[in-house]
Assembly symmetry: C2
Homo-oligomer: 409 residues x 2
């Protein structure tokens, strides 16, 4: 009999019918003898509505009041979920962030969890009670409601699982798992049954947006197995039919390549002809960091005649800010500033590539055979990313998926 | 410089535009030097939506979870109101029920306030800060959110005014005051500038639904002057252009009759031919009370040959329950059970009638002149109520309004 934290996202609790359906899964788990903590998001659309109210009242507003407003969405779902469970004869109650309490730091709007008091929860779980916890919210030392930032409900779920030493954290969502590639591009992509935290991190940050990066990191740090699964199917979490994210050593049959990720939300910036002297990178990227620009890939090649080019990518909606920052705040002489919005990043991810040679070569050869020009290459221990023209995104992903033998069956 | 509690009802905070407008009134009060606590309802429609969710999840649900769900509406408005005030340069923050705390008993869904901690609030009010408090909610000794029942935001406002020893409690709503009769029936009805608590109680419970009975009682008990005024006009509360509800001794020019109230939500039940022996009334009304039937007027006339008739009124939607209760649970033999749904109650209210003779006579004479048959009469110290055929409601109210000289000018 396991202790499970089960989290339902916004689409899984979008209306009372879906809350009812989600509650039935928990009832099944409880009837099998499992102890369950349920974490719920706001009903889909609610948080956006509340954020919109705040913006309408005042474009620049007190984040503490913003937190009081937007945290209410999850509060509603938590009460409704507790009622739904009770209807099926399960003993359940809602626990708001301040009631547990889930203590966070004072950084309202994107607070981090400092501690979770579990004594009372554990007592009640042992007594057969289900705890329903609104995700995304906590309370500060000043006794005010805080929120964890977008996607914070996943963080709440994994943090609770860690604090309670749970056997598993099930993330019920609108997809039935993590795939070897985006099924909209690769129809015969295969659902991954088990994947390592590190791989999931690379896939998540590269565009497979099923799990928040922060919650995967927290799962890895605390050794909490996280399962991504669909709330719309008939299966419950304990049937283990989703994708389980866990430690590398639990994965018996390790593939060389686990999946192909891609992102078209990339813009490429090249600072041409900067002097190749120590401190150049710092002088370029420090002002960008200060301006809150999320720089992703960074590539610097060897210099020619004392000058070099610095290339990096940023999300599309931060391109203007990045360019403005370089022009206004970067104390660096350069010959030209080139910008290309029509690029895509395609990445091959797999822990297996640590111990297998030739993975990169297969990638370059495959792209070459399709006449796809590689603009930038960047590698890590378990990932190879390339930047290509975004027209070629689908072709590249499909070709690589086939080349690494990832298809179903 | 006064300490004012200002409460805005649902229509006064129906959207962000109206919240902005309401906030401007508070800004004016603050700039004049007043200390202000703002109490807000949920944006109109929100509470009904939340109640509807609860009913859909489970027709019979845990009231503690219901409270967690429905209290969220006021929480949202409180955060937004604090933001709106801050935008205008006023120092403001929201205070949720559990943060103050407003302690209530354990009767979830219709809790009563036990105590309000005011030390921190007073310190901050003295420092020029505005406190924004969501109405309708409190917290129990078990640390769970409770709600005060429908109209509870008025109760929150008056209770806060009492606890803070405020100079006045302004109830901003969608009407500009209390009238001598319903202006939809009597176009030349006059706005009452000042009225005694007792009169307001009779008018409120008789159908002028601008102020919750409970909050008027609380105002009377604690000597808090309550002003009813419109949030849509340009005036702020301190201009005293609404209707002030206060103690009798503050009213200099006391009219004999203050207003004419009416209610068409009445059904008449007559139990015919019960034995006129001690204990009959108890045997009839005790089971009705146990069945939660709200019995209003009760009339028993003298007996004839040892038998008597008992007549009482109930709200329309409780008539079936009342009849069923009498048939099933009342241990009383009677000859017949008569029911009439087509009745209206018309009442003449005024503290002045204590010291003036002939008030009742004017009523009876007026109705008689219009050929309106009086079915039942019931009187109190400051009110005379009659039951008539509901077809005659408007005629009766207009005639009485004229007879007592209540019209404008």
């Amino acid at each position: 009999m396991a202790l499970i934290v089960a989290k339902f996202g916004g689409t899984s609790v979008a209306d009372t019918g879906r809350i009812e359906r989600a509650s039935q899964k928990i009832v099944q788990e409880v009837n099998t003898g499992h102890k369950v903590v349920v974490v719920v998001s706001a009903m889909s659309g609610v948080t956006n509505q509340l954020v919109d109210y705040c913006s309408k009242i005042s474009p620049i507003h007190d984040v503490r009041e913003y937190d009081a407003v937007v945290s209410s969405g999850e509060q509603v779902t938590a009460g409704l979920m507790a009622m739904a469970l009770q209807k099926h004869g399960v003993i359940a109650r809602s626990w708001l962030g301040w009631q547990i309490p889930i203590k966070t730091d004072l950084v309202h709007g994107k607070a981090r969890i400092d501690s979770i008091e579990t004594k009372e929860l554990i007592k009640r779980l042992n007594g057969g009670e289900v705890a329903v916890v609104p995700g995304f919210q906590g309370v500060t030392d000043l006794n005010r409601v805080s929120t964890l930032g977008r996607g914070g409900s996943d963080t709440t779920a994994v943090a609770l699982a860690a604090a309670l030493n749970a056997d598993r954290c099930d993330i019920y969502t609108d997809v039935d798992g993590v795939y070897t590639a985006d099924p909209r591009i690769v129809p015969n992509a295969r659902k991954i049954n088990i994947i390592a935290y590190e791989e999931m991190l690379e896939l998540a940050s590269l565009g497979s947006k099923v799990l928040q990066t922060r919650s995967v990191e927290m799962g890895a740090k605390n050794g909490v197995p996280i399962q991504v699964l669909s709330s719309f199917g008939d299966e419950v979490g304990s049937a283990l039919k989703g994708t389980l994210v866990t430690t590398e050593d639990k994965i018996v049959e390790q593939e060389v390549v686990t999946g192909i990720a891609h992102s078209v939300d990339e813009a490429k910036v090249t600072v041409v002809g900067v002097k190749d002297v120590p401190g150049v990178a710092a002088r370029l990227f420090q002002p960008l960091a200060a301006a809150m620009v999320n720089v992703d890939m960074i590539v610097q090649n060897i210099s020619s005649k004392g000058y070099t080019d610095m290339t990096f990518t940023v999300p599309h909606n931060e391109l203007d800010l990045a360019v403005k920052t370089i022009k206004d705040n970067v104390d660096l002489s350069y010959k030209d500033l080139l910008v290309d919005e029509n690029v895509a990043k395609v990445s091959v991810v797999g822990i297996g590539m640590r111990s297998h040679a030739g993975v990169a070569n297969t990638m370059f050869k495959t792209l070459s055979e399709k006449n796809i020009n590689i603009q930038v290459i960047s590698t890590s221990e378990i990932k190879i990313s390339v930047l290509i023209g975004d027209d070629y995104t689908e072709l590249a992903v499909r070709s690589l998926h086939f080349a690494y033998g990832l298809e179903e069956g």
